[in-house]
Structures are given as structure tokens and as C-alpha cells.
């Protein structure tokens, strides 16, 4: 057992493993770069980097098999390799502090990327001039919001991630008096009015706005210039049986309302929201161009920021490359729409955003120390052995 353990430790502490992992990483980046043409940035990140294996489908079947280690696996093994080698090989001494610092910086960089992958939220806020918003919306994630609107003072929202609908078991929650059962789940679909089809299939929805619709499933797209329209048929099941089957889709923006046990509820499938502990009001949006051209000189949003705790109550100007950082989020000026009446802000929430800066600084300082020590050692040797150096 001990020798087996020793072999495992020898494997994970070996420099050979490091080299193999780096070569595999290079191949992975190369393959991902080529595949970006087909999948786009988001698809490539998901397939090659933010997963443990790259999968390929066996042609003619629906079976996918892992064919190559992906980013998470390579990153984790590299991290373990670095830490293990450090733990066993290196002994701390002031002469080694440069190497130590460089390796610690590398380890931190890997951990930081892992944390970013797990925790970073990329959202957007579309806001019209004069509007106040208290939430941002996810670019990619979708939620089924089941909202109890009966209370005059507040709304109680139960947020069901769209992916959770891809399972046969009914979803229950203490705040919902009914269960949500998935009848059909489409990660991407288009819709048509039944009245437009000469021979429409039988209606699936029995209540709500979907009774006049026909859903046509579409393959999921990862392309940057296309988007998916998540859609599902869900049945609400109360203690006394079904309350109806509803069609929910991100194409149906207006919440569908229903009344159950004397309370009003609303159902809507929408981009996942992140509610903020502060309010953002767009006071002004400016879009200046160079005279006589359409080339933008500047576009900027002047917003009023007001926090619930009263600590912030001020105006902020957000413009290109000058984001607002507040409440753990960075608001970037990303675009505009609607004849310059709508400003589009990209809102990034990444609790670990400072780690790459810190790790790069550690690596830089570590390398400077290491090379400086070599340089000073070289000079001092040259001083003590001038003849040897001359010869």
C-alpha cells in the first residue's frame, strides 16, 4: 500500500506530468480556437474549458464519449501537481523565496480562474432614460419565476432554474402551494399561432396564453449571433389535481396570471434576475459622434445610484472603459438601443476579480527576486574569480 501511495505521489510530483499537462493544454487551446468558428466564444468555453472532458458524439447514435481532458481536469491536475511538487520538493529558505512566490502566484492564478468559472455572473441591465431598475438579467441563464402577487406590499418570488424543468419529478417548494410538473422541455424553440396553420397539432396548453400556440423545437445554438428561446409546457398540480398546463417561453414576456386558493400568482419564463440592494436610475444617455461621421466619439450613461442602506446617493457617469464598481459588481457601458433612449450596461459580478491581479503581481515579484539573486550571485562570483571569468 505504501509503495502504491509512493507511486501516486511520485506521479503527482513529477515534472514530466507538468510538461504533459502543459502540452495537452496547448492542444486543447488550439482545438478550441479552431472550433470557435462553429461554436462561438460561449460554446467553446463551455465545451473545452468549463468542463472536465471534451465529449464527442458517436456518429449515428446519441451517445457522447469523453475524448480529451478539458479545462477543469487539466487545471485541477496541474494545481495538484504544483502543490504536491511544492509540498515535497521544495524546502523553504530565503534563497528559495522567489521560486516560492512565483509558484504561489501560479497556484493562485489557477484557483482564481476556477473561482471565476464557478462564481462569475455576466448580466446586463437594459434601462431607458428616466427608468429605475433594481435588478440585472443574465445573458444565458433562464428562470421560471412563480410569483405570489397577493400581498399588496411585496411579491414573493420562487425562482426555478430552467434546467431544473428537464426532469420528470414535480418541483415543489414551501412557498408554492402547487407543484410544477414538466410536460415538455425545449432548450430552444420557435412558436406559431395555431390560427396560422392549416392543420395544427392538438393543443398541449390548457390554460394561459399558450392555448393558441404551437411550439416547434429547434436545435440549441451556441453561435454568438443567434440566441436560444427556452420554452416548456408545465402543468401546475394542486392538492386537488391539475390546475392546467401552461406554455412558458422567453418569447412570452408578459407574466401569465392565475388565481389559486384566493391568491393571485403569476408565471413567467425570463432571463434569470439578480436583484440589487440599490436602485439605478438612468438620468441621461449621451451618444456623441465625430462631426460629419457615424464614428462614435463617446457614449455614456449618467445614472443616479441610491442604496437601500442610505450609504450611496449620488450621480455616476459610466462610459467606455470607465465602469462603475459598486456592491461587488462592475457596470460597463456595453451598448445602446432604441434611438439612444435605452442604455445597455453589462454587469459583471465576480467576487474573485482581484485574484488575477494579485497572482500576477506575486509571479512578477517572485521572478524579479529569483533573477536578481542569480544576477547578484553572478556579479559576486565574477568579483571573487576575475581570472576565471576573463578566461
Amino acid at each position: 500500500m505504501k509503495s502504491a501511495w509512493s507511486r501516486i505521489v511520485a506521479l503527482f510530483t513529477s515534472l514530466r506530468l507538468t510538461v504533459v499537462l502543459l502540452v495537452l493544454s496547448i492542444l486543447l487551446v488550439f482545438a478550441a480556437t479552431l472550433d470557435q468558428v462553429h461554436l462561438g466564444v460561449w460554446g467553446v468555453q463551455e465545451k473545452y474549458f468549463r468542463s472536465f472532458f471534451v465529449y464527442a458524439r458517436i456518429s449515428g447514435t446519441n451517445v457522447s464519449v469523453p475524448i480529451f481532458p478539458a479545462g477543469y481536469l487539466l487545471g485541477w491536475v496541474l494545481l495538484i501537481n504544483l502543490m504536491a511538487a511544492h509540498f515535497y520538493r521544495f524546502r523553504f529558505g530565503w534563497r528559495k523565496c522567489g521560486i516560492w512566490l512565483t509558484h504561489a502566484g501560479l497556484i493562485l492564478l489557477l484557483i482564481g480562474e476556477g473561482l471565476s468559472g464557478m462564481m462569475q455572473q455576466d448580466n446586463q441591465m437594459r434601462i431607458d432614460v428616466g427608468q429605475t431598475r433594481r435588478y440585472t438579467e443574465s445573458f444565458r441563464e433562464t428562470e421560471l419565476a412563480v410569483t405570489n402577487t397577493a400581498n399588496p406590499g411585496f411579491d414573493e418570488v420562487v425562482s426555478i432554474p430552467f434546467e431544473r424543468l428537464d426532469q420528470p419529478e414535480p418541483i415543489q417548494h414551501p412557498k408554492m402551494p402547487f407543484a410544477v410538473r414538466t410536460v415538455a422541455y425545449y432548450p430552444n424553440a420557435s412558436m406559431r399561432m395555431r390560427s396560422q396553420l392549416s392543420n395544427p397539432p392538438p393543443a398541449v396548453a390548457t390554460a394561459g396564453d399558450g392555448t393558441g400556440m404551437v411550439v416547434q423545437p429547434l436545435p440549441v445554438t451556441y453561435k454568438d449571433n443567434e440566441n436560444n428561446w427556452p420554452t416548456a409546457y408545465i402543468e401546475l398540480v394542486g392538492p386537488e389535481g391539475s390546475l392546467g398546463t401552461y406554455l412558458v417561453s422567453t418569447m412570452l414576456v408578459e407574466p401569465q396570471v392565475l388565481s389559486f386558493q384566493g391568491r393571485s400568482w403569476s408565471l413567467v419564463l425570463r432571463p434569470k434576475r439578480d436583484y440589487l440592494p440599490f436602485a439605478v436610475t438612468l438620468k441621461k444617455f449621451t451618444h456623441d459622434v465625430y462631426p460629419g461621421t457615424d464614428i462614435p466619439k463617446d457614449f455614456a450613461s449618467t445614472i443616479h445610484l441610491k442604496s437601500d442602506d442610505g450609504q450611496a446617493d449620488r450621480e455616476v457617469r459610466i462610459y467606455m472603459n470607465n465602469p462603475l464598481r459598486y456592491g461587488g459588481r462592475a457596470f460597463y457601458q456595453a451598448g445602446y438601443d432604441n434611438n439612444d433612449r435605452t442604455s445597455v450596461l453589462q454587469v459583471v459580478r465576480n467576487p474573485s476579480w482581484q485574484i488575477p491581479y494579485l497572482s500576477c503581481a506575486m509571479i512578477a515579484v517572485g521572478l524579479v527576486i529569483e533573477f536578481s539573486m542569480h544576477l547578484f550571485g553572478f556579479f559576486s562570483r565574477r568579483k571573487t574569480e576575475p581570472e576565471a571569468v576573463m578566461s
Partner: protein, 375 residues
């Protein structure tokens, strides 16, 4: 290489596995719940030139109607509370175009009450007309069945068409409660006032905050701006999501008054007595024939077959884009539309209005289509 010490090995293993387990648990796919204040984010800010209210219909809410935040497609939203904690919902929604025919509207609401659809003959008995200050409202009163211990639901619905726009006012809730609100609902309709129409010559400035003409051009190299996806007019009853769709660019004539876009519309303009609406919808939206027939239906013309389609459409190729152009004129309304399938979505550029107004706007509209280009 030194022989590893067992105790060190175990510490290392513990650190690595606990860290891995910690990170693996970070992805949250759980059902969550949270409480939010009643949404009021659509309300304009209290001050500043940008905060001028947009021109819209006006009304007086009857006593007991609690104003809710207008959101999404709703211009107005009210809650009416009844006995035993019951409540009914009142919405005021506006759509461009005709909003579909009366039969489709009534059957849509009947569907919501789990009632069987009716045909044209039964429609006349179902819809009443009400001549009020704002115009002639079509009004229906529909009650659903009570089944499985659930209280019966009832809809009081009204719609009013005016100038290429349709307003829907709808109350839905428990039948008993809605029954007590019939007079209040009628009072509400009586108080309804449409936005003031400015004289033709001052049309561009009639809309506070609206821009004249204008372009939607993006700067070169700018990241794709999510566009408001819309639906063609025949799907007016189906509000659609604002989503990331690559946007086209165009240059509207200077005398077209831009109107505030809704989440359905990419842009809209007031052109004399007619209106130009630009919407986008995923997929082929039924193809050319279905759209042509829908528009023909809206202007009171009979459907055509695939064989006749060639005589009703023309093609415009401009800036590498291929438009199918349709011009359908009825006795009281005319629709001229450019239909453009592009990158998995279909764009609709539609000019609607009285036949003479559309005729006047036609040359500018065709020129406008030629300014449309891919980014």
C-alpha cells in the same frame, strides 16, 4: 526524491479534496425564493428633462382600484380586492396594428377561461359596442366554468382601435368579484382618453422625448447590442422577449417622427397619418404566404393560394439583403411590408394606415428599405 511522510500525504490529500468539494458545490441549480418590493421600475424618474412622461392614454381609476406598477407591455395595471382575500387584475395594454380580428381576441380570452372557441355567428351575440368619449369600444363579458373546487373566473374585456393602434382593457378574476365591478369597469372605459393627436405639420414634436428620424447605426467594432425582438402585427397578442439578435442598421427620413419603441418593436415611426413599425421574430414566422394572408385579412381581403402568391409580392435586393415586398390595400386600410429573413430571424418593416396616407408615404418607405443594411 525524498520518501513522502504519511502524515504529510494525508494532510495534502485532505486539503485538495476539501477544496475540490468546496468548489464543486459552488454551482447553484437550486430552487430559491426571495421577496421583492412591488415592481415600480418602469415609473419615470421624478425630475429632469429625460423624465417627461411619454404621451399615452389617460384615465381615471375608479374607487377601490389599487394602482400597480405598469411593467412590460402594460400601460396601466390595477388590483381590485374582494372579500376573502380574492383579487382581480386589470390591465391596459396597447399594440400596434389592428390587434388581430375580434374573433381571435374573444377566443383568446375564452381559452384563458377554458371555454370552447366560438365562430363568427356566435361572435355577434358575444360582443357589444359602447360609444364613449375615446371612441367605439368593443366589450365582452365572459365567465368560465367552476370546476374542481376552483372558483369560476370571469373576464370583462374591451378593446378600442384608433389610428393604427389598438388598446385592450381587461379585468380578470373570480366571477363574483368581477361581477361587482361591472359599473366600475364601464366608468373606467368612459374616463379613457386617447393621446392627443398633434396637427400633421407638428407631428415630429408631438411626442415628448421622441427623436426625429434617426439612425440605429452601431459604431464599427462595437459589441453586438441586444435588439428588441418583436413580432409581426398579426401576432400582436403575443408579446415577445427582448433578446440578443444581431441588429440591422437603417436611416429613417428626417421627417419621420420616431415613436417610443416597446419591447415588441425595434423601432416605429409616425409618417403622416400612417405608421412604420420594425419588428423582428425568430424563425420564418410561417413563411411568406401565411404572412401575406394574415395582412390581407387585416385589411379585409380574402386569402390567396400559393399559386397566386407570385402576383402579390415583389423583390427588392439592396445592400446584400433580399426583401420580399407586399402591398395589400383594402377599402379602409392598406399594408405595405418588407419581409426580410436574415440570420435565423425574420425582420418586418411594415407601413400601415389609411390607403391614402400609405400611398403618400410609399416612395419614402421604399427609399427607406434601401437604407437597411447588415452591420
Amino acid at each position: 526524491m525524498p520518501e513522502p511522510k504519511p502524515i504529510r500525504s494525508q494532510i495534502l490529500l485532505l486539503v485538495v479534496t476539501s477544496f475540490a468539494a468546496g468548489l464543486a458545490g459552488c454551482k447553484d441549480r437550486d430552487v430559491t425564493s426571495y421577496r421583492i418590493p412591488k415592481e415600480a421600475e418602469s415609473a419615470p424618474a421624478a425630475s429632469g428633462p429625460a423624465a417627461e412622461p411619454q404621451a399615452g392614454p389617460r384615465w381615471e381609476a375608479p374607487a377601490g382600484w389599487e394602482t400597480q406598477a405598469a411593467s412590460g407591455m402594460r400601460l396601466g395595471s390595477f388590483r381590485v380586492s374582494g372579500a376573502g382575500g380574492t383579487s382581480a387584475d386589470v390591465s391596459v395594454v396597447s399594440f400596434p396594428g389592428s390587434g388581430g380580428d375580434d374573433l381571435a381576441n374573444v377566443n383568446r380570452w375564452r381559452n384563458q377561461l377554458q371555454l370552447q372557441p366560438i365562430d363568427e355567428r356566435a361572435l355577434a351575440d358575444s360582443v357589444q359596442s359602447l360609444d364613449l368619449t375615446a371612441g367605439r369600444f368593443a366589450v365582452v363579458d365572459l365567465a368560465g366554468p367552476s370546476a374542481g373546487g376552483k372558483a369560476s373566473q370571469r373576464i370583462l374585456g374591451a378593446w378600442l382601435r384608433d389610428g393604427g393602434q389598438v388598446w385592450f382593457i381587461k379585468m380578470m378574476g373570480p366571477a363574483d368579484l368581477v361581477g361587482t365591478q361591472k359599473k366600475a369597469f364601464a366608468d373606467f372605459l368612459a374616463s379613457f382618453r386617447l393621446p392627443q393627436k398633434a396637427p400633421e405639420s407638428s407631428a415630429p414634436s408631438s411626442l415628448p422625448g421622441s427623436a426625429q428620424g434617426g439612425t440605429n447605426d452601431l459604431p464599427p467594432g462595437h459589441p453586438g447590442v441586444p435588439a428588441a425582438a418583436g413580432s409581426p402585427s398579426g401576432m400582436d397578442s403575443m408579446p415577445v422577449q427582448t433578446a440578443e439578435v444581431p441588429t440591422l442598421r437603417w436611416q429613417a427620413p428626417g421627417d419621420w417622427a420616431a415613436k417610443p419603441a416597446s419591447s415588441m418593436r425595434k423601432a416605429s415611426y409616425s409618417v403622416g397619418g400612417a405608421e412604420v413599425a420594425i419588428t423582428v421574430f425568430p424563425g420564418d414566422v410561417g413563411g411568406v404566404l401565411a404572412n401575406v394572408n394574415r395582412w390581407r385579412g387585416q385589411v379585409g381581403l380574402p386569402e390567396i393560394s400559393q399559386a397566386d402568391l407570385g402576383g402579390h409580392v415583389a423583390a427588392i435586393d439592396t445592400n446584400g439583403l433580399h426583401f420580399t415586398v407586399v402591398d395589400e390595400a383594402g377599402s379602409s386600410a392598406r399594408i405595405m411590408a418588407g419581409l426580410l429573413p436574415w440570420q435565423g430571424v425574420t425582420w418586418f418593416f411594415k407601413l400601415t394606415g389609411p390607403p391614402d396616407a400609405v400611398e403618400r408615404a410609399k416612395p419614402a418607405f421604399l427609399t427607406f428599405l434601401k437604407t437597411v443594411k447588415a452591420p
